[in-house]
């Protein structure tokens, strides 16, 4: 019997993030700096939303439910096939946290970056010295490799589950549903208006950053 495991906001977050990280990459490689800045800001809004959804969202989206300690992790690693609950595995949770942190760092660096020509810059670049903004741009450039490696690890893990553990993970992230074994706790969804409030907060925060973070800047 198929049952919900990922709610719609979590899935939308996931696939929009995939699309925007891809678009950010493309726009950076092709000198579309203005589009790149907007893409990065959209990613920031997504990240803020995801942080809030990790507190107020559905059960499998909540950090408190999927971030586990070293004991749970080592127990999971000893018996990966025996893992039954829905949602992120203890190891997958680390991957999720690493990707969120790496992309957040990338967005943060971008906010303070100035481009080579001095024609475009992140909305907070004027708060730091030119030297610092150039350093941020260099780091922003280099850090993308870290993001790429984490994404590759993520994709490799999905392939590993498919080939060696016989688990298909991509389908559920699209449809939201997966086979649920008897006795496993089902998804506890969140209220739709909670998602709306989280979205409003995320957009409001992003607008504040775009405005140069008044009253500190802007």
């Amino acid at each position: 019997m198929k049952a919900p495991v990922w709610d719609l906001p979590t899935r939308l977050f996931h696939w929009l993030l995939v699309a925007l990280v891809g678009f950010s990459w493309w726009s950076a490689e092709n000198g579309e700096i203005d589009l790149h800045v907007w893409s990065g800001l959209a990613i920031m809004a997504l990240l803020v939303f995801r942080l809030l959804w990790g507190i107020f969202g559905a059960s499998t989206a909540r950090f408190a439910n999927f971030v586990r300690g070293p004991r749970a992790l080592s127990a999971y690693l000893r018996d990966m096939k025996g893992w039954r609950p829905i949602g992120h595995t203890p190891l997958g949770a680390l991957s999720v946290l690493a990707m969120l942190a790496a992309i957040a760092a990338q967005v943060g660096l971008g906010l303070f970056s100035v481009d080579d020509d001095g024609l475009s810059e992140g909305p907070l670049a004027h708060l730091v010295s030119l030297d610092a903004a150039e350093k941020a741009a260099d780091l922003h450039d280099a850090w993308f490799d870290v993001v790429l490696v984490l994404v590759l690890v993520h994709v490799a893990a999905i392939l590993f589950f498919r080939l060696f553990l016989g688990k298909k993970l991509t389908g559920p992230m699209i449809t939201g549903k997966a086979e649920l074994e008897p006795g496993i706790e089902p998804l506890r969804p969140a209220k739709w208006w909670a998602a709306l409030l989280c979205l409003i907060a995320a957009v409001a925060f992003t607008r504040w950053i775009v405005a140069g973070a008044p009253p500190f800047g802007g």
Partner: protein, 179 residues
């Protein structure tokens, strides 16, 4: 066939004597607007630089482009403040107006990506006329911005600075490698 071989030998021999090319490059570098206009043609007609001379020129080209970039950043930054610093704008505009006419002389044949590390694309030497036209547009935009900076008219400064940025981008979009 024999003619081709002789030509090849002559060209190879010429490569061993970079002195002339260096002088040419140096002359172009110090050139003013009028000189730079003719140097585009001269550069296109010149034979490829010897490797040492080419690498030296490419390094200097990078340094000078960075100076233009730094000047742009300084202007962009002060224009964003409530009270833009006219002294910063004027000195940056002067730097750019001085360097912009030299740009064509920075790209003689033999200073492309096949020779050394550079973001300059090979297309520069495949479309020399378009590249020259874009260099002229940059030179003119830099001169217009310099004039606006001297006048001190803030509205004109902002408008000419926006034009200048577009002329940078027009060329970079086509002829600079994004990394």
């Amino acid at each position: 066939m024999r003619f081709l071989a002789l030509t090849a030998i002559a060209l190879l021999a010429a490569c061993g004597e970079p002195a002339q090319d260096n002088e040419q490059a140096a002359a172009n570098r110090s050139g003013d607007t009028a000189q730079a206009a003719s140097s585009t043609v001269a550069a296109a007609a010149a034979k490829p630089l010897a490797r040492d001379a080419a690498l030296k020129l490419m390094h200097q080209r990078h340094e000078d482009m960075e100076k233009i970039g730094d000047a742009t950043k300084a202007v962009s930054r002060t224009l964003k403040t409530d009270s833009p610093d006219l002294a910063v704008i004027r000195s940056s505009a002067a730097t750019m107006a001085k360097l912009a006419p030299q740009v064509p002389s920075w790209f003689p044949p033999g200073t492309g990506p096949d020779v050394g590390k550079t973001e300059a694309k090979a297309q520069i030497w495949q479309k020399p006329q378009d590249f020259a036209a874009k260099s002229r547009a940059f030179r003119d935009a830099a001169a217009a911005f310099d004039a606006a900076a001297r006048s001190g008219d803030m509205a004109a400064i902002k408008a000419r600075f926006a034009d200048l940025g577009k002329s940078c981008k027009a060329c970079h979009d086509l002829y600079r490698e994004e990394h």
